[in-house]
């Protein structure tokens, strides 16, 4: 290009070196090679990407850390569980029964199957059975997973640390197991496509090095909100009774239903979690969380599935035919989330169903 003293538009702007097209293509290929090699090296240096700062998940990981050795059960999933599972009520309902436990809520708003898989693996990794703790009373260990959580994170989280940090090849394989040839093509390829795109970002380390260096603090207000009054990760949503009464009033009540089809990944997840912990006697439970749309259409799940010889109950709370009392404005914050009274009610329902289930199925003591 012309120097400062040269008149623009003269010979100085004319090319004097014309590279061959093959050389340019070669340079681009080399640039890609340099990128891949460097990205691979950086990836090796980033340890535990799951623990890199990632919005609301980070607060839950701090909570998990603070409850190591003290919590024997945990719930996982999305905002439906985050705002619907109150460990205080759950524990008090099971108190004095063989199922009694100390639980925490590790569900994350906007969460997915991929995220709950990793959260559950982390929980099980740190789980210490009560029998190994001197003076502790026998407790049951439970992992409560949200069966109805979305497979992937939402598309608004496509370029987000919550997605990028966790979509490794194991996550991609897991997502693949959450698809079936019988699925609509768009849904199936959408799931797989999202997983591959997120994995590409993961292996390109998008934002992961900066997150390692500029480690952002957790959101103190959010953490306080989830931990005051011994909430243990449960976030209370206020009642919106009048607004929700209007919603219930205008909601169509077609009452359609269909039989839910479980995916290989639903079985595979339990199987993976069972083998991920040395602690014996961990009970796995699937939860199906309610939604106002259930009044229009709901799915019927089997009561139980069997994985590796263990019975896994499916606590289906999204059944207007079985739980009509739940579908009232006073229990809801918005059409997808329960308020405190709603959480109270479903905790009681869940505890009752679990007591009934384990009255007819063997229950082993945790660590026994």
């Amino acid at each position: 290009m012309a120097g400062p003293g040269e008149e623009p538009g003269t010979e100085a702007f004319l090319p004097h070196i014309r590279p061959k097209m093959s050389a340019v293509v070669f340079a681009i290929a080399i640039a890609i090679f340099g990128f891949v090699v460097t990205a691979a090296l950086i990836h090796l240096f980033i340890r535990h990407p799951f623990y890199l700062h990632a919005d609301t998940r980070s607060e839950k990981l701090v909570l998990l850390d603070s409850w190591k050795g003290k919590a024997y059960s945990a719930s996982f999933g999305s905002s439906h569980v985050h705002n619907g599972f109150d460990p205080r009520i759950f524990d008090s309902e099971l108190n004095g029964t063989p199922l009694q436990t100390q639980s925490i809520n590790l569900a994350v708003a906007g969460g997915s199957q991929v995220e709950q898989r990793l959260m559950a693996l982390e929980f099980l990794h740190d789980l210490q059975p009560p029998t190994r703790i001197v003076g502790a009373v026998p407790q049951s260990c439970m992992v409560l997973l949200e069966l109805s959580a979305g497979a992937n994170m939402g598309t608004d989280h496509m370029v987000h640390p919550r997605t990028i940090n966790i979509y490794d090849m194991a996550s991609v394989r897991f997502i693949h197991s959450l698809t079936m040839p019988s699925m609509p093509r768009k849904q199936r390829w959408g799931r797989i496509g999202f997983a591959f795109a997120a994995a590409a970002e993961h292996y390109m380390n998008v934002g992961m090095l900066s997150a390692s260096i500029f480690n952002m603090p957790i959101d103190g207000d959010a953490y306080r909100d989830e931990t005051i009054d011994d909430r243990r990760g449960y976030q209370v949503l206020p009642a919106e009774t009048s607004r929700m009464n209007t919603v219930f009033g205008r909601e169509s009540r077609r009452g359609l239903y269909s039989t839910a089809e479980l995916l290989p990944g639903n079985y595979g997840l339990i199987d993976e979690l069972m083998h991920a912990t040395p602690v014996t006697g961990v009970n796995f439970v699937y939860l199906v969380m309610p939604n106002v749309e259930d009044l229009d259409h709901y799915e019927i799940y089997p009561d139980t599935i069997v994985v590796d010889g263990q019975n896994v109950p499916i606590i289906d709370l999204a059944r207007p035919d079985l739980n009509p009392e739940l579908y009232q404005g006073k229990y809801w914050h918005d059409p997808a989330h329960l308020n405190e009274a709603g959480a109270d009610l479903i905790m009681k329902l869940t505890a009752d169903r679990l007591k009934t289930f384990y009255a007819h199925h063997p229950l082993t003591a945790c660590g026994g």
Binding site: A2, L14, I30, A31, I42, G207, S210, F214
Partner: protein
């Protein structure tokens, strides 16, 4: 569409491929014009319409100026152009500032006025393109350049997308001649421009955007943080604003350069300046030279007889420069303090002339005082009000120990590290060395640095600070 967004990468790939595949200069200029309006319209199509109307009017005024020798008519045309551009700028950028200031003043006299409820959207980069248009009609009026005869050429000059929204402010005398011939670039130019783009990307995305959360936290809750954290936040803001703005300028120069157009240098290591005057020769060069040529010189510039006249002109120029940056009194004060700093420095130089033997240590002392003065001024620039600024300045001097919250103390090292890095890059002529690399080594290094840059992304695109100006 920001330069750091994937959408821009896609847009520019299409533009660049199409541009170089076109054979004639006219076709290329037509295409750039369309691309520029598409780029600007991607924010809001109404902005593009406004830009078109303003540009067409300025082209008409310029054309008419070239058609007549009558001094009175020429004055009418240039005044019309200046009035039109300044009115648009005043309305969109300063309307709320002027009305709220008037109301506040009236309140002092116990006259209670209410602010009109008028929602005004600030068109992106309005300060840049109005100043660019002003320089055109004034230069034509001063007979420093000929009028652009072709409307298409003028529209392309006024809307050239690489520098449209945040500069550098391009002078027609520099840019318009480049449009006369078909652009070509050499392989070395391509290497240099790709290097510059990546450098700008790193400055903006990997440095400025990563430190902005710390700065935002401290300036949002200044009472909560201790004095050392407040001081670090002031330093970090100095880094942030430099990396943000010079990063944008680097990318703008690179994007234009990849199409064969040369834009002016906008930053020249300003934090290595040894005086305030030196700082303004290195910071936002296209704006400092603009206000020098069109405000300072118009006011009379340096007076050979009366020093106070020179200082008056300097102060007016700097206050106007401050107001250009934003519609708030803190910006005006920022400009005023910089003007005052230059006046004090000029008087000091008169009182204590530099001896040859004193040059090295006076330069060092000058650098130390300048960088701290500039950081203190940035506090004024960044603060939402004078109260916050006063508190932060007290903390800077440890006159107030402050609250208990902290930001990581290692961030205090970031400034010295980056400054030493910049010095080293200049010392080893890194850009020239990169260009001298063989194509294969250049390609490998380029890919490797991109891998680092992407790993350092902060996740969450933040608009360039200077877009708001």
């Amino acid at each position: 569409m920001l330069f750091v967004e994937p959408a821009f990468f896609l847009f520019f790939a299409v533009v660049l491929t199409t541009y170089w595949s076109l054979r004639t200069n006219n076709a290329r200029k037509n295409f750039i014009l369309c691309a520029s309006y598409f780029f600007y319209g991607s924010w809001d199509w109404r902005f593009a319409v406004m830009l078109f109307v303003l540009s067409t009017a300025d082209w008409y005024f310029g054309y008419k100026l070239s058609q007549t020798e009558n001094r009175r008519i020429r004055k009418i045309f240039v005044t019309s152009s200046v009035a039109m551009n300044l009115s648009v700028l005043a309305f969109f950028k300063y309307f709320h500032f002027f009305t709220s200031s008037t109301i506040a003043l009236a309140n002092v006299w116990h006259v209670h006025l209410s602010e009109p409820t008028l929602k005004i959207i600030l068109p992106v980069g309005i300060s840049f393109f109005t100043f660019q248009s002003l320089s055109y009609t004034i230069d034509v009026y001063r007979r420093e350049i000929p009028a652009v005869s072709n409307l298409r050429d003028y529209l392309m000059f006024s809307s050239f997308f690489p520098q449209l929204v945040a500069g550098p402010i391009v002078r027609p005398r520099y840019f318009v001649p480049q449009m006369a011939s078909k652009r070509s670039i050499t392989l070395d130019d391509v290497k240099a421009m790709l290097y510059l783009f990546l450098l700008g990307y790193i400055k903006k995305s990997c440095i400025a955007d990563n430190i902005s959360p710390y700065v935002d936290r401290v300036f949002a809750h200044p009472l909560a943080f201790n004095a050392f954290s407040s001081m670090i936040a002031a330093w970090l803001y100095a880094i942030q604003i430099f990396c943000d703005f010079s990063g944008y300028s680097d990318m703008a120069i690179a994007v234009a350069g990849l199409m064969g157009y040369k834009l002016v240098l906008n930053f020249d290591a300003p934090y290595l300046a040894v005086s305030i005057q030196d700082f303004w020769r290195r910071w936002h060069i296209s704006l400092s030279t603009w206000i020098r040529d069109y405000i300072y010189i118009s006011l009379g510039g340096r007076s050979k007889t009366k020093r106070w006249l020179t200082y008056r002109n300097l102060m007016i120029t700097m206050l106007a420069g401050g107001l250009w940056h934003g519609a708030a009194w803190t910006f005006v004060a920022w400009g005023g303090v910089h003007g005052g700093g230059q006046v004090v420095h000029a008087e000091f130089k008169r009182a204590v002339p530099i001896k040859e033997s004193q040059q090295p240590w006076r330069n060092l002392l000058g650098w130390f005082l300048t960088i701290n003065f500039v950081c203190l001024c940035w506090i004024l620039f960044r603060s939402p009000d004078f109260g916050t600024a006063a508190l932060m300045i007290k903390r800077y001097f440890w006159l107030d120990r402050g609250g208990v919250e902290t930001i990581p103390y290692w961030l205090a090292l970031l400034g010295p590290v980056l400054l030493l890095g910049q010095l080293a890059m200049r010392r080893v002529h890194l850009e020239e060395r990169a260009v001298e690399l063989s194509l294969r080594w250049y390609g490998f290094a380029y890919g490797a640095v991109w891998a680092f840059a992407i790993a350092m992304l902060p996740l969450g695109y933040r608009p360039f600070i200077y877009f708001q100006f």
